[in-house]
Point group: D2
Chain length 433, copies 4
């Protein structure tokens, strides 16, 4: 991922240094167990603990000749460790180290993103509670529907990210396995107890049955989960972009002093942060496809997944980590305009109450079809002369309505109270408060 | 999905009739609770239970005028139910019915696919146990690596589908929610207790916070899960296609009497069933993309997800159900050729033992690098003159090797036993037996 | 594709009957040339012309036994043609018939979609000319930028669909090849002149080098092109949805009498047609992925592409044909509200002229940076008190601006004329008028 | 794209320096024309030519405050150019510079990839001619079908890449447009003649109608074309991987001295280069999705495409450039084993001639159905006892066949000549030689 969309915390996880550090730890742990089992000399794990080291640049250099990354790594470590190094990695295959290290990196990434999610949930909850009763229009199809509150909107997004968290925890667990099973997974040259020991030390689960590699359906599930989370980010980003539209302007991204919106038009304040998130969601989402295609490796493995994963794994983790943190910042500092929300709510001249009139009519004994026709007739008149007349006026003067609702107390119908009546119920469900 | 790839069981779930039946049940259940709460007359649910009916063709006809599917449905039901119908669907919005019905259909589909998975797991287990010790070559990069057993191969796929089952259960749970919350999810016109009642009756969970719709990240997760499962199917399908290659021919799809492989070449027996599965996996996988794009609806909902879902929901469910059942049939009747497996295993003249020689050398005190060079030198000679010499011959005559491994008992090295030694451990992990 | 999104014209192209009709024609044409070359008796093409027929249901029945579609087809045709049928298809392979027939179906589909595009271009041009000078606000990031005209908007979409047409013509040409080259494309059993003749008669080009199949990069290009066109449709659909938003309401889909927008809210008029197109675009787009994955067939072919193509080919063609026609209808009958456009244009209190003030300042010798700061300072004040003050007011009272632009004729700056000044140039470029 | 899959030539094109260099050139060219038209002082383009410079690090620094990349760029250039800089970029919008620069970068990338394609075509042609008559088995479904030649295989791939070249030329042309049309594309503040001049100087075409940006369907087409090319690369890569399989081994990637195939198994020679290409194809392919989603920008533009393009544009260009060059190297040095090809060809005991027997039978007057049954009966016996009997033996002893083909000269049927008879025709079509 390009630096623009990468945070240092996640960059560290995907650095060469971190990868080699984990690989060295795996080799050392494996040696510890092998020595304990008497398969290699006791001095080997000790040498690895004391002298084990590596140099990323030197590894690159060796790889140029061997064209094999793990051999290059082992050769370089041997340069530090000396003679004992020949027992390092004994009976193991490259993927034992690579795939287990990859599992650790993915798990570390998940850990960081879970923290990101917690921060985002915190921000959403704070703003949701703040605006629990801030009335605004609810829109379906982009068209005014009925009133809701801005807090309810945010509660919905909170719930989505709470689900995201649960799913990420499941995906993290799915990916957190360790395979140290030898060339094609038979343990022919490495004892299963080594795998078990390394797994436990690293906080992983032993892969029940590996081939040469950890099966890629686990990774597919992981990246698919990131894709779903990215889509939830996009969902909230698009909500903000809509709310910031010039005609709507119910909320706005914070615009810092010194910031410039446009090189040509000094008046612009654009929701660029949210737009960026929309674009990044496309990246994280499209990376699901290679992850899915990576599942069907040939026989005990082919290496076609490797080049794809070298790109998508850091890219998706970095982009999603960046997006979650950015979104948290946006929500934290979001400028919210309750007055504009109220003004927009009233813009359609009371049309938003149409269902309540419909219900009053059916309750008064009018058939569903007739009620609908009656209400729609009035509504369309208001719609067509927007600003010229209101729904309440039309109601008051339509003789058919008057006939049907003679004692109608219109103030009961044209009232916002019922739309917030169940906010507490919903907040209780979502936040437990 | 085209009939060719659809089974009647899944077709029923996605039939118009099943959809309308569920919608009617939802409307009736909602009416039961509303009547109990005193919001509508007690006679309404009774009428719905007794006279509630619909006619799919008539609904289509009405929709032509109203251009609204739920109104068409309600109008048609009203034709059967009579006057009480005006209280049906009171305070509810179309999506309350549609999305909840969709959840039921998806849950029913998951149920069927879970049954399919059980059958597949059964077939895989049976064949895996049958071939637990059937030796065959393990291949990485398509190149002979080391021996494994055919049972181990199948155990790996079993484990993948066991994971698939767990994930599908999670996805089913994720999707099984009920929303009856009115126009924009505020319960302004419908009591939350109605939602609760309907959910419980249908075996669903109330959606904690809905907008006009059930949030689409749930559906994205569902279809992403199907995409991962389809990829695991492709993985096994490609294994079979590889094993059936003319040069490999270790296994073959059952070829029925009367079947013809090619219009031009009467000798052909092609793995067409597995090839079909490969293609269908592409469909189920690509359907993940619209599901992910569907998450970011505008405000309280736009209807862009609807047309996409009308296509991908039945298509993915039908294609995956079909694929699972077909794959079960393939596995059940797969022709396995242990003799060819053995012949292939020995084809490389003992090269597959190269790691064991390497280990013997390092155990004998030779450095890792020198051992590798020594073994590779011998191996490449065999590789280059395939059939002309064997790895064992090369070993026996290489003075450097003789010097390093003077007491080497080559029969210990060139021995298949260690490759099956841990089969039981792995089978215990996978099958618990 | 489900009937809801299928027009009969496209359904016919993808019907079993049309497919078998084309296959019979290919077989007959091939027989004509073979007979002319003396490879088969002269009576064969005559019998095929006179008695050649098929019955789709019967073919299905035969396929159940043979599990081979082309053999089933040939067997059924033989039932009509009699003894001469044995020379039909001589030396040909199934894919010779299937792939060439597929090319014809795809080319017919392209033909129909080209007609659709012409109709759409016509509608766009008509409405663009009608609104060439209809002023409206141009928006970037959803924020008011500078004035443009509604005609210019439509001209841009016209140009996109003109490109779509060019690309579809290229894709149609790419796909329109004929392969009659035998089992693996060597012409070992069929003379290349047969291919040449059949190609010419069907309006196709002979495939320069086929394997068993026509290479799938051609199809990938075709479906990718449909994906790009679908995205252009989505682009216009989203423009309409935005313009119909309650707060914007500069244009609206035609709402027919009897139509109902919502079951709960009789006042709703939703852009459902455009929303449907957005969803269908996702389908056509996602079908690009299987088409791309279909390219890498094994050796001279595997049949994994077939199941995928049986789904995506009709689906993408049907959905795109439907979408193009629907979009044409939307554009044709689109309700346009120039007064609202003007009202929206003026909503930001003149902020849209900020660049013109900036230019006046730099022309008056102020540095770019200082000018920018000056204009931004004024603009932000207006932005923050929207409705309370206008940009023109701020300009008039800011002493710094007055100092820099003493002779400034503000009416020259706050003038819409320049924004339409080059409409003719652009229309000339796009429409040649 | 990570360095591992990036060549310096393509990295240069996508470097910050190259981007800013192009942007400066665009600004300078625009100033030249504006000065010529008298819109800005003549000294401006002169200053830009003489003093125009930039510093990427400094630009980054400025962007941190302005949060706007083009303003940061202009500010930095102004630091070099001095007072005249205030007229630079006059009346232009950021996207005028960014999108035109992007078009230049994409066009440069296409240029480089076209050179890559030429080299690949050269390698393929050389090897195809070398192996025009090298017999090998053609395979469909992975099953032996009929003989073909290795040269024909390569000719097919050559033709695919010749199409790739044509398509890339078209995509390059599609993308090579210049937009200098101001804030929302109206030319309100910049003369169309400026656009025309800049376009001509840069070898681009003026964009007929731009909004704030160059329409993204052009880019979608570009990246879709790269996706199709990547799929053709995958197709050839998979062919090589299949041919290198241990059981097939008809060809092999060059294995350099010092190279190591496996850390555990010194005997391994794996087709890792081709496997890498398979994985990279997945990346280039998946990047088509964001490009397609980028088309539907809001109104005159939103900036959601930008973050996605910053990732996919360099990534797809770098990965494809790398892949093309690597593939050329693979083909150039591919080890081809004609003897193994011949051995594999004869492995099925003559089954590959089944069609020729079928034809002889029908030519001898036997019905198609009866002939097929006869041949299939014999073939299946061979198939089931592979190695135990040959198809020729079965033919010779089957009384029904003897009866039908009494004078049959079997040597005519069991003959490879016809399979190469039309190689020249095909090579003439493909290579014109």
């Amino acid at each position: 991922m390009i630096p623009r969309y990468t945070r240092p915390e996640m960059a560290n996880i995907w650095s060469q240094d971190n990868k080699f550090r984990i690989m060295l730890e795996i080799a050392t742990l494996a040696a510890e167990k092998m020595a304990e089992l008497g398969h290699i000399p006791k001095s080997v794990p000790e040498s690895l603990r004391q002298k084990g080291a590596f140099n990323a640049a030197r590894i690159d250099e060796i790889e140029k000749e061997t064209k094999h990354d793990v051999i290059a790594f082992l050769t370089n470590v041997a340069e530090y460790v000396g003679d004992d190094a020949k027992f390092m990695h004994q009976g193991m295959t490259s993927s034992d180290v690579l795939d287990t290290a990859f599992a650790v990196q993915l798990s570390q990434s998940a850990e960081l993103m879970l923290k990101d999610l917690d921060a985002l949930l915190g921000a959403l909850k704070k703003r949701a509670l703040e605006h629990k009763d801030t009335l605004c229009i609810g829109r379906s199809h982009g068209i005014h529907a009925e009133p809701t509150t801005f807090g309810l909107k945010l509660a919905g997004h909170y719930a989505a990210f709470a689900r995201a968290k649960e799913r990420l925890i499941a995906a993290q667990k799915d990916i957190s396995t360790c395979a140290i099973s030898g060339a094609v997974g038979t343990f022919a040259t490495v004892d299963p107890r080594v795998e078990d020991y390394v797994a436990r030390q690293l906080g992983l689960t032993p892969e029940p049955v590996s081939t040469q590699v950890i099966p890629r359906d686990r990774h597919a599930m992981f990246f698919a989960t990131l894709g779903v989370i990215a889509s939830s980010i996009e969902n909230l980003a698009i909500e903000i972009r809509h709310l910031q539209r010039s005609e709507v302007r119910e909320a706005e991204e914070y615009f810092s002093p010194g910031q410039k919106g446009s090189s040509a038009m000094p008046h612009k304040r654009n929701p660029v942060l949210s737009e960026n998130l929309t674009g990044l969601a496309r990246i994280v989402r499209s990376n699901v496809m290679p992850a899915l295609e990576n599942v069907a490796l040939w026989h005990e493995r082919d290496i076609s997944h490797s080049s794809a994963e070298r790109v998508i794994a850091p890219d998706s983790c970095m982009a999603l980590d960046f997006s979650l943190v950015r979104l948290t910042g946006i929500i934290d500092r979001l400028l919210v305009y309750p007055q504009t929300m109220m003004a927009n709510l009233e813009r359609l001249g009371g049309l938003v109450f149409s269902q309540r009139v419909l219900l009053a009519l059916t309750q008064a004994g009018v058939s569903r079809e007739e009620s609908y026709a009656l209400v729609q007739r009035n509504a369309m008149k208001v719609w067509d002369q927007l600003g010229g007349t209101t729904f309440l006026d039309e109601r008051r003067t339509d003789p058919d309505v008057i006939a049907k609702l003679p004692q109608e107390d219109l103030s009961i119908i044209f009232d916002y109270t019922p739309y917030t009546a169940h906010c507490d119920t919903i907040f209780q469900r979502v936040f437990g408060v």
